[in-house]
């Protein structure tokens, strides 16, 4: 090794005397491999789910929602009471069972327990003014409210997605006309239309539905779905159109067109997967808003038909006896709060996990 001494004291020249030949040997393949920085190949969903798992609020919400869904699925099979019938003991209607407090038995039931020595399933939340088990009514109310929420969100998603993607992708005059229609629907006062539509639809639907599966749900419920489908997709359609407008200008869409890909395939394979995060998040946030609307429509008396109930109509019924039996209002209100809060937090968590712009 040639000795290259520093000519100047302050020179930054490397002092070669510190090294020997061994220092300059080539790295072995093994050593080279150590330098490879290669993360595990992750997909978009794996990556998002990893981030979601780190979010305690979102995970808590998932647990709460899972519990609620488990309870509303299992409870009707365990609880021997029906949401629509007065409590009867030994096939005999129990007239003393109205307005029982939680875990209280009526006189007839107490007699029965004493005589036969058998135990009876407790009235966990007591009974209502007609002597129906309140717990099972809350369970059925939650079932109705949740399914209204989910079905409404799905309807909004499907209509909004198709409408928004056509308007956004094809653009031009078509877009102009389609978005003006959206503007018109957007500018209508929601509540007024919902009330008017459900009144009108109720009358026209009742004879049509007679004898079908839907009759149990009641014309009110069906008209509520129609109302959601007609009115609430506009927000989704606007959002998706905006997303598609920005995504379709990407070069990969141009590249796909250059390859000769059909528009429908470009939408399916290139554009929609890239706005999927926004779609999922908005749908998740649409569920609580639909539950909310359903609840206050039921509260106003436009909800599901008796004897079927929803959380909103339970709250409405409890209003009359608020001073004597406040828990009958509190219980459905708390369930509404839990569901809406959990879904909102989950939606926020999903947005944080999947929206690439925030990462």
């Amino acid at each position: 090794m040639p000795s290259l001494d520093k000519k100047q004291f302050l020179s930054a020249q490397v002092d070669l005397s510190k090294f020997n030949d061994a220092s300059f040997e080539k790295a072995t393949d093994e050593e080279k491999k150590q330098q490879d920085v290669m993360g595990e190949s992750t997909t978009f969903f794996k990556d998002g789910m990893r981030r979601l798992r780190k979010n305690p609020f979102a995970m808590g919400s998932i647990v709460v929602l899972a519990l609620i869904i488990l309870i509303i699925l299992v409870a009707p099979h365990i609880c021997p009471y029906s949401y629509s019938q007065m409590i009867s003991v030994n096939g005999c209607r129990d007239k003393s069972s109205a307005n029982l407090a939680p875990f209280q038995y009526s006189e007839m039931e107490q007699d029965y327990i004493e005589k036969t020595g058998k135990s009876l399933f407790p009235h966990i939340f007591g009974t209502d003014s007609l002597g129906r088990d309140y717990f099972i009514r809350v369970i059925y109310g939650t079932r109705v409210s949740l399914s209204v929420g989910i079905v409404a969100a799905l309807m909004v998603l499907i209509i909004g997605l198709i409408y928004g993607s056509i308007a956004g992708y094809f653009g031009g005059t078509l877009d102009l006309i389609m978005m003006r229609i959206v503007d018109i629907i957007y500018s209508l006062p929601d509540m007024l239309i919902i009330i008017l539509l459900s009144v009108v639809l109720q009358e026209t639907l009742t004879p049509v539905l007679k004898g079908t599966v839907f009759s149990k749900l009641g014309a009110n419920m069906i008209s509520m779905f129609i109302v959601f489908g007609l009115l609430y997709w506009v927000g989704m359609a606007r959002l998706i159109r905006g997303q598609i407008l920005s995504i379709k200008n990407n070069e990969y869409v141009l590249a796909a067109r250059c390859i000769g890909t059909k528009s429908s395939r470009i939408l399916r394979k290139h554009i929609i997967p890239n706005c999927l995060s926004v779609i999922i998040i908005t749908t998740a946030l649409q569920v609580p808003s639909a539950i909310f609307t359903e609840s206050y429509l039921s509260f106003l008396g436009l909800g599901v038909a008796d004897p079927l109930t929803s959380l909103g109509s339970l709250a409405n019924e409890a209003r009359g006896a608020l001073q004597s039996y406040p828990y009958r209002l509190v219980i459905p209100a708390v369930v509404i709060c839990l569901i809406v809060l959990a879904l909102n937090l989950l939606g926020d968590g999903l947005r944080d996990a999947f929206d690439s712009k925030l990462n």
Binding site: N250, E251, Y252, L254, I259, N274
Partner: protein, 347 residues
């Protein structure tokens, strides 16, 4: 241009105007205004010009990604687009007695079969690959669209073959585009373009976004592929050195018009058009000694807005040789010997 079939691609009087809203009026933005050139099979035509002169628009219009406003595009002997205008010797549209242009039948071919023959490599390797697709799916998409395989195994085999051709590792097939470097991403884009086995590829600033060492690799790869597969390129770039290196012939564009076309070496050594001269003088010279001696031709003023094109020659507002004739009439490309075409009245 004696024999038509000699050329793979022939473009005549291509125009691409975009409507731009100005207040209440719609004004045409003349991105490409009467461009004509031709490319032989296996040849590389370089297309240079400053930003915004319409190079990219030419490439995209050729592939019919934009609907051409007017002109005629012939590919492989087939007319794929013809707006139907007729032109006289001076290059003006022949107008009938009623003041409207005389038209023959408009031809507007379905592009799908031609998408297999002409492809494009995009400028930005980051936005030209779908972030939600694996490399295998990106390269496989043209195969899917044109149904170029019969079994899944055949599809995979073809994809791996293409990856090898562009120097990508077969293990990378299942990875996503964001896991690659810029150079590798550009290779993926090239493999996608090559998947349909095209005869002609538009390279739209395909190396501009890469750093210099990667540029060299990618350009060499383009050359290797040309040797192997015999594809013709339209190589769009703003770097004259790169274009000179890869091109057989070079076309210089200014404000949507072609100013000069010549063989690469001829253009470099013997430029005629004043704009080409100034463009060439702006090329950085690696030797400082020579650089000091050479004189840089600095153009005065800015590029005019394509919304308000100067009359006659578009370059006349910045040209020191400009005369009255330049303002009156637009110069056409004329042959100055050996296929060196120049559009200028004075030089």
């Amino acid at each position: 241009m004696s024999n038509k079939d000699e050329y793979l691609l022939k473009v005549e009087h291509l125009k691409q105007y975009f409507p731009v809203q100005q207040g209440f009026r719609k004004v045409p933005l003349k991105a490409v205004d009467d461009v004509s050139f031709a490319i032989k099979p296996g040849e590389t035509l370089g297309l240079v010009g400053e930003s915004g002169c319409g190079k990219t628009t030419v490439g995209r219009t050729l592939l019919r990604l934009y609907e051409p406003t007017a002109g005629k595009i012939t590919f492989d002997g087939d007319v794929i687009f013809d707006s139907g205008e007729e032109y006289d010797e001076k290059g003006n549209v022949i107008v009938g007695a009623d003041g409207k242009p005389i038209r023959h039948k408009k031809i507007d071919e379905n592009m799908l079969p031609y998408r297999r023959k002409m492809q494009m490599v995009f400028q930005d390797p980051y936005s030209s690959l779908n972030p939600r697709m694996t490399v295998e799916d990106i390269i496989g998409e043209p195969l899917d669209v044109h149904k170029l395989y019969s079994t899944k195994a055949e599809r995979r085999e073809k994809i791996l073959e293409l990856m090898e051709l562009v120097g990508l590792n077969a293990e990378h097939a299942m990875r996503y585009a964001h896991e690659f470097s810029g150079g590798q991403r550009q290779r993926i884009g090239i493999a996608r373009a090559l998947a349909v086995n095209p005869k002609f590829i538009v390279c739209d600033e395909a190396v501009s976004a890469l750093d210099v060492s990667i540029q060299a690799q990618v350009i060499n790869m383009f050359e290797d592929i040309q040797k192997k597969l015999g594809v013709a390129y339209l190589f769009i770039a703003h770097d004259l050195l790169v274009v000179h290196h890869i091109s057989d012939r070079i076309a210089v564009m200014y404000l949507g018009k072609v100013m000069e076309i010549a063989d690469a070496d001829e253009l470099n050594e013997n430029p005629i058009h004043p704009y080409t001269l100034s463009l060439l003088s702006a090329v950085p010279i690696p030797d400082p000694e020579t650089a000091r001696k050479s004189k840089r031709i600095v153009l005065e003023g800015d590029v005019p807005s394509p919304l308000r094109m100067p009359s006659g020659c578009p370059f006349r507002t910045r040209c020191k040789y400009a005369t009255e004739q330049c303002a009156k009439e637009r110069p056409q490309l004329t042959d100055r010997g050996n296929g060196h075409m120049v559009a200028c009245w004075n030089k």
